[in-house]
């Protein structure tokens, strides 16, 4: 031992080459060592969910900065870095992801892109939302401005995914989720989009509610055009469903006695309330015009065209009757068709026969009230009567053989009188008309069939 101590006093010359070795070792090894520690630390954090992890190594000291999503996650991440072999010190610069109150997430759509903003709880859910947005929106650009924050309400992902599906149905607008309250604003891409979104929102996860839904939809348009040259009524636009579709087409068939109905209607959601109640009387008014266009846009009914005579124009301008629903607007731009040239009695008779050959004046069953569907036909008859002002006209009422003869006789007389009253009310002199009832005495077809009976129930105009 004493020898060792004695020898050690002569070891010092080796320290000089040792110092050189040390300097070379320090010079060449520092950077590879640091790179190796960065790689090992990064690998140690591979399975830990962190926001903005940053690892810097100086010598063997590891500076570790990151935002964790929970205190446990933060501690385990720091422990994982501390366990990296070769590390000397870990400078813990970690913290928790900020908590958002209220927790707001939004999706905004404009012409070119959809921007996702606000907070999302985890990188995984953020990725899921972006992926879902890209899938739901086809080729539309998706911009990500989402931050990561803690404090998301339960089932946040499900709610946000459902709302992303709705943004696909918008042309432009914004959907905001603030805590558990959903606000929507914007314009739906298609008719019925508003209703489709409202229906989908019923599937929001439990606890979520719609605070404001200001989604607008494109106007709900229905159009009808009466073309006197082609003798057609063209229906275009939308109807709420197949039932309303069928009832509108059948109403058009009844009101437009000579026109062929061209049906180009499509069924779509989004019709304003009272749609059928507004459109049916509007079609009735259109049927009284010689040519005209009916445009129904949301709750606005616009009718334009030429009435056959002044009194009809005034009636049409006045409104669409008691069945026209509340909250709807009616705008009529009605002019009067120039009076046709007068004709003699024979031609007049021919014109009456032509009109009544195409359609019959119809009454409520067993009663003397003229149904509204016959307004167009009556206007045609009145216009014809105006063309032969000197002709006296017998208005002949006929019935079928159902019921007893006396009541049929009375009914035919009263119905003829009702028609005469209608004509007088339209401005024609009462002395030109002779209402006569013939009961079932002058059938024009067999009373054995329903068809024949229908032909026999009629009003004829006979020029005397």
């Amino acid at each position: 031992m004493h020898g060792l101590f004695r020898w050690s006093r002569k070891w010092w010359p080796g320290l000089v080459p040792l110092a050189v070795l040390w300097a070379i070792a320090a010079w060449t090894s520092t950077e590879p060592l640091e790179a190796d520690l960065v790689a090992r630390s990064t690998a140690a954090l591979k399975d830990t969910v962190l926001d903005k992890p940053k690892i810097a190594v100086e010598g063997r000291d590891i500076s570790f900065a990151a935002h964790a999503f929970s205190e446990d996650g933060r501690r385990s991440a720091v422990a994982a870095v501390e366990a990296v072999p070769g590390g000397r010190l870990v400078n813990d610069e970690t913290g928790l992801v900020p908590e958002a109150t209220p927790y707001v997430w939004s999706a905004e759509r404009d012409v070119v892109r959809v921007t996702l903003g606000g907070s999302s709880p985890l990188p995984a859910s953020k990725g899921k939302l972006l992926e879902a947005a890209r899938a739901a929106l086809g080729g539309v650009e998706v911009a990500d401005q989402m931050n990561l924050s803690r404090g998301a309400p339960p089932r946040f992902d499900n709610a946000a995914l459902l709302l992303l599906d709705q943004i696909a149905k918008l042309k432009d607008g914004k959907i905001t989720l603030s805590d558990t309250k959903v606000s929507l604003a914007g314009m739906a891409r298609e008719l019925g989009g508003r209703e489709a979104i409202a229906a989908a929102l019923r599937n929001l996860p439990e606890g979520y509610l719609v605070a404001a839904n200001d989604i607008r939809a494109p106007p709900y348009i229905f159009q009808a055009y009466k073309d006197p040259v082609a003798v057609t009524l063209t229906l275009t636009g939308y109807v709420p469903d197949n039932t309303v579709h069928a009832s509108l087409v059948s109403a058009a068939g009844r009101k437009f006695f000579s026109e062929k109905v061209v049906d180009n209607l499509k069924a779509s959601l989004g019709a304003p309330a009272g749609f059928a109640n507004a459109v049916v009387p509007a079609l009735g008014a259109l049927s009284r015009l010689s040519t005209g266009t009916l445009v129904v846009s949301d709750r606005e009914v616009k009718l334009s065209g030429d009435a056959l005579y002044e009194a009809a124009a005034n009636e049409i301008r006045a409104g669409l009757g008691k069945d026209f629903p509340q909250g709807w607007q009616y705008k009529a731009d009605i002019s009067v068709k120039p009076a046709a040239a007068p004709v003699d009695a024979t031609v007049c008779q021919q014109l009456f026969a032509d009109l009544l050959g195409k359609g019959q004046i119809r009454f409520e069953s067993g009663r003397t009230d003229i149904v509204a569907d016959s307004a167009g036909l009556l206007d045609g008859l009145i216009e014809t009567a105006l063309r032969c002002p000197n002709a006296n006209i017998e208005i002949a009422g006929h019935t079928d053989t159902v019921g007893d003869e006396v009541s049929n006789q009375t009914l035919s007389e009263k119905r003829a009188q009702a028609v005469a009253d209608y004509l007088v009310k339209a401005g024609l002199p009462a002395n030109r008309f002779m209402p006569v009832g013939y009961g079932s005495m002058q059938p024009v077809a067999s009373n054995d069939t329903d068809e024949g009976k229908a032909q026999n129930r009629r009003i004829d105009f006979v020029v005397r």
Partner: protein, 98 residues
């Protein structure tokens, strides 16, 4: 430590070999010796550096260089001790010169 040993075994072996050589020479070398006073100062300096290394008070790269230097130094000293002991053993067991 094990990590450093595997990472830099080349430098550490070099220090050890240098120590062995120096220890081997020191036994028969007739050069200058370090005085007692300087020895104590060197021992105190070494103790202070070891203390600083264990207390981890030197930050970043200098801290690493200190660790590296101390390990190399320790292996050098170990090499010196083994080298001197071997040389001494060889010298005491060899037949005296004729």
């Amino acid at each position: 430590m094990a990590y450093l040993a595997t990472f830099f075994w080349g430098w550490l072996v070099a220090s050890l070999l240098l120590g062995l050589a120096m220890g081997w020479i020191a036994v028969v070398h007739r050069g200058r010796v370090v005085s007692h006073r300087v020895s104590w100062w060197l021992a105190a300096l070494a103790a202070a550096l070891v203390g600083a290394a264990f207390a981890r008070i030197v930050p970043g790269r200098p801290g690493y260089w200190l660790d590296l230097g101390l390990i190399m130094c320790a292996l050098y000293l170990a090499g010196c001790a083994v080298g001197s002991w071997l040389r001494d053993w060889v010298v005491s067991h060899s037949p005296p010169p004729a």
